[in-house]
Symmetry: C2
Subunit: 303 residues, 2 copies
């Protein structure tokens, strides 16, 4: 793995996995024509918007590393994407980041109105937990593990996880925060849900402790790489590739890795953390090659 | 029971139960000083606001009717109140009903700002599912039943339940809907969560099918009674008792029982449905007396 990373082959693999996740999402979403139609149309609109599907992929990969099938954890994989999507819909609202575009398309509230966008986020979040619960009994998955995963995900997505991170992010606008504060903010806002996704799949298939610890280590560093590259793309990304306007962090006076350390150091930090991701996987053999590739890939991403 | 309903004794019982639920909520909430503080303060503010705690009472009662202890389902009881509270916080937002007061106090977004109010609702909803999951293993409660209850609650609170009802309610403003549409709207918006609450406690303690069917019947009629009296109070309630301005339905041109049938018929309908509540409980003995009293009580409520 360390020797030759075949980017083209990896991108092809990533596309196959994304298509699989998209097919799962179509399978486990309430139908677009379900009553009342407007909320289900809005849920579909928000969900099928060219997302990278990284969190579901991590769920599926965690299950495979623990020796389980991807089919057995499809519901939980979709649930993590529901949660990610709800957070984007609410973050984009006028009262929050007030964004008109997301991945090159109008944001949910621009199309369906603000009230429906709030309710769409609520509905995706609610459906997510129903879906994880529905994973009990699929392919011998134990209800006990499902309950543990729901606790894990609720914590990662909650007031002391992702939502807490968003609260800190809103507080930090237009004021300087130091590096320690930025790290906490970004761990909560981004890394916690990546961590929950990867662990969820593994826990549903009873991965033993040392493996879980290695995945936790990977997920933490992966979250950092993802966030730093996100900050970098906001400085030097391309609107047509990225699908959203660049420069919004500077306009909103946000604290980012480039704003704190400069662009070159930020890039070096992303590389270092990607290296730490790979290192964390040393307890695994080739079964963790996708996660290794993902760290390489994210550090060099253009969108 | 049918002979003499002692209102005073019932009100005293209700107060004892409310105090018990409030103590549970304090126990299972993240501490107000948890980091970041503002979101936890806002969650406390929204939650400790003089609510009647009917949904948690129904969870506790469902468990008792099934032969379980109230202590064993405290977490699930609190979760239902979290969900009810989140729905109020989001319903009050400027983009939704735009209400400044709730139970005589400023609404969450008036105190903490709109962004924090959205996040507060999200956090309560997220925490609710974590809490139900945490009920697994308490007093021999099976994880399998917990998973079923999470599915039940997610459905009742979701896009085809409470959220769907709110979508229909927003759509129905300033236009006439017929009685059938009003019934669907109100079943989704109000009755589904009452039903989930009562069944949740019963299901956690394996109540057999006929009992479950009776509770479902009760809950459906109870939701109706509650909604009709809510509509009536908006016409002839007292601000100082009710804690919110009256007449908002007329101002917002909402379809209500009084607007469709007139006040007298609406009152008669509330009485009839309360009677149907009592009748549904015929399969039970004195263990269902609290539910019988609750139907009598709600039909005559002043707030």
């Amino acid at each position: 793995m360390a020797a030759a990373f075949d980017v083209q082959a990896f991108v092809k693999d990533l596309r196959t996995r994304k298509d699989y996740v998209d097919a799962c999402l179509r399978k486990y979403m309430p139908a677009e024509i379900a009553y009342p139609p407007v909320i289900h149309q809005a849920m579909h609109y928000a969900l099928f918007n060219g997302g990278k599907r990284l969190r579901p992929m991590l769920v599926l990969e965690g299950a495979q590393i623990a020796g389980g099938s991807t089919a057995s954890v499809e519901r939980t994989a979709c649930a993590l994407e529901f949660i990610h999507t709800y957070s984007l819909v609410h973050d984009d609202l006028p009262a929050m980041d007030d964004d008109d575009y997301r991945r090159g398309q109008l944001t949910c509230h621009k199309v369906f109105g603000e009230a429906n966008a709030i309710l769409t986020g609520d509905a995706l979040l609610t459906a997510a937990f129903g879906l994880i619960a529905d994973n009990a009994g699929v392919d011998d998955i134990e209800a006990r593990n499902v309950a543990l995963v729901i606790k894990l995900v609720a914590k990662a997505a909650g007031s002391q996880g992702m939502i807490g991170g968003q609260v800190l992010d809103l507080e930090a606008e237009h004021k300087s925060i130091d590096f320690e504060q930025l790290k906490v903010l970004q761990r909560l806002k981004t890394a916690e849900l990546f961590r929950a996704a990867l662990l969820a799949g593994a826990m549903l298939h009873n991965l033993p402790g040392p493996g879980v610890a290695a995945l936790e280590q990977y997920a933490e560093k992966f979250g950092l790489v993802f966030q730093i590259t996100d900050d970098i793309l906001d400085v030097e990304g391309d609107f047509t590739v990225l699908g959203k306007p660049v420069g919004s962090d500077v306009r909103n006076d946000k604290n980012t890795y480039p704003s704190l350390f400069g662009l070159d150091t930020a890039k070096k930090m992303a590389q270092e953390n990607a290296g730490a991701c790979i290192e964390a996987l040393n307890v695994f053999g080739p079964e963790a090659d996708f996660l290794r590739g993902l760290a390489f890939y994210v550090v060099s991403r253009k969108s």
